[in-house]
Subunit: 362 residues, 2 copies
Amino acid sequence: MLKKPIFFTVGPTKLYPTVKKHILNALKENIPSISHRSQKFINIFKETVFNLKKLLNIPADYEVFFLSSATEAMERIIENTVEKVSFHLVSGDFGQRFFQIASDLKKQALYYQINPHVLLEKQKFIIPKKTELIAVTQNETSIGYAFDSKIIYQIKNENPNKLIAVDIVSSSPYINLDFKRVDLVFFSVQKGFGLPAGLSVLILSPQAFEKAVFLNKKNKLYLSYHNFLELKKYALKNQTPETPNVFSLYLLNAVTKDFLKIGIEKIRKETEKKAKMIYDFLEKSDIFEPYVKIPSSQSKTTIVAQLKNGKKNDLILEKLKKQGLYLSKGYKNFSQTHLRIANFPAHNFSEIKQLISFLKVI
Amino acid sequence: MLKKPIFFTVGPTKLYPTVKKHILNALKENIPSISHRSQKFINIFKETVFNLKKLLNIPADYEVFFLSSATEAMERIIENTVEKVSFHLVSGDFGQRFFQIASDLKKQALYYQINPHVLLEKQKFIIPKKTELIAVTQNETSIGYAFDSKIIYQIKNENPNKLIAVDIVSSSPYINLDFKRVDLVFFSVQKGFGLPAGLSVLILSPQAFEKAVFLNKKNKLYLSYHNFLELKKYALKNQTPETPNVFSLYLLNAVTKDFLKIGIEKIRKETEKKAKMIYDFLEKSDIFEPYVKIPSSQSKTTIVAQLKNGKKNDLILEKLKKQGLYLSKGYKNFSQTHLRIANFPAHNFSEIKQLISFLKVI
């Protein structure tokens, strides 16, 4: 008999504990049946944007758009802000994916390969002058690498006329980003917000929006139904161009309100405490070690444990499953030698302790 | 005190009666938490495709792709099958939207304006030789116009080397389409399947897929993450390129199985009976009339009633709401003079009778 599962997978993951209640409320309120042009929808859209801005401290003049996935967010960012050249700081497969999307869309996509095992300050990348967009994966889910926000701001300071896009897919709402110093930020809801997949959030600075306007004037904008001008036209009416995932938007608003009630500072502190518990265990373990060893580069939300001496993870993952503990295996090349552990607001201290105790005796 | 609402809106609409149960089962089975690369997801994907093919009688060699909305389906169809010229048979605003998307994507988009009040057989449109894709809105949700399938097949017979795309967004699963005689067919789940919005289904013939391969070879394919080659690469593994709306896919499979149990023939006959009840009432009414008067052009699933003598619908919609009956107002130019009534599998005879009785005494 399998135990009640706890999903420590890096997303989709454990639902935030209030989600079931919110789903039942949504059904009671007929949310899946309301028109996406109705006043009720307009209120949900407006509230969600308001609450997200409050929770994440997003400036009033920044836009908030809703898309269907983080992959779509990458595509729309490239389409709307890059005429010719993008530059990608790549530390793992999701940074690589952003680069590949730019390249597939026929942009001159340049990249610098970050070495996750060398202090970021010591890695000297030169961003070519012709670069229009700099793309950074702030939290690289594939290897548990966190790109230091201070370096992000420094890059923007040194390149005020270039746009900077920041992937916080699996670090939001933990990561405390100074939105005024970045231009395009995106995350999806099945990670830190503990919701079902099928919705992503794209936040953009006035400067980023102006780039789309500029490209449009030059007749160089790709006029998708999800181009920024169209998205903004509808956002001004608190709507989306297409029939969106209304249900998910309602749930995002509900969980954002829960987070506001708890207080983002508390959520962030708890995330750090739980991360410390996991890293402390990994440091002392005989069979595991953190894959990323430089503390300032260690992700607090998606923690990657490496098996020592090239050991394989299959038996461990099986044993964990029998205890009801679901972890993600490693990504691509590391699929057999890494374990990836989510540490999102949904994961409470007792669950983290339970996981660690089990990993100790495995 | 408002009565328990019944949504006759044309989509989003009343949830199919089993959906709440399926949502609770999904939560019990942790569907929102499973990985989109897991065996459990693979099984859901595989089953959904299998059951949809069975329900709608889709040929084995046709592809089934999952996208986020019907609007996205239109965009992906244009990107993947049109190098230069598309031709649109437009009877209302959704056909117009398909045309506009092609035009925005810098295609030479041509169109013929269907007159909904003239027998379709008498409308002579000439499809230019250079046309690559012919787009037809089989069920035009904006005005309740149904494009006769026989004419669709006739067009394909006369243009075997051109692709034909058919919008059945709000007529599926009622419409009994011979998929072998069409190339690209799409619908979204918040209409006839009675599900929350946020997922659409795109079905394509081998000939349609080959067009994308051909464009790719010519270096003319727009290489979105949702291009057909990429979608097929993942579909072969029973997966999607991005993290999809897993929850919604599970629900689509569940409702498709419900439909299979009832039998599609029964669902179709009942839809026709209910449609006849509504049209019979409209024909006899003193204050309403069907907007589309030619029987072979009357939609069976999204029925549009016009107020006689240019009367306005606002008071009627208000009165209906007080009875808990939610209808859609008219689309764009007709917003104040039309009522749009959904007649989907979710709407039972007793609800249709209730609506008609109330409209009789209004």
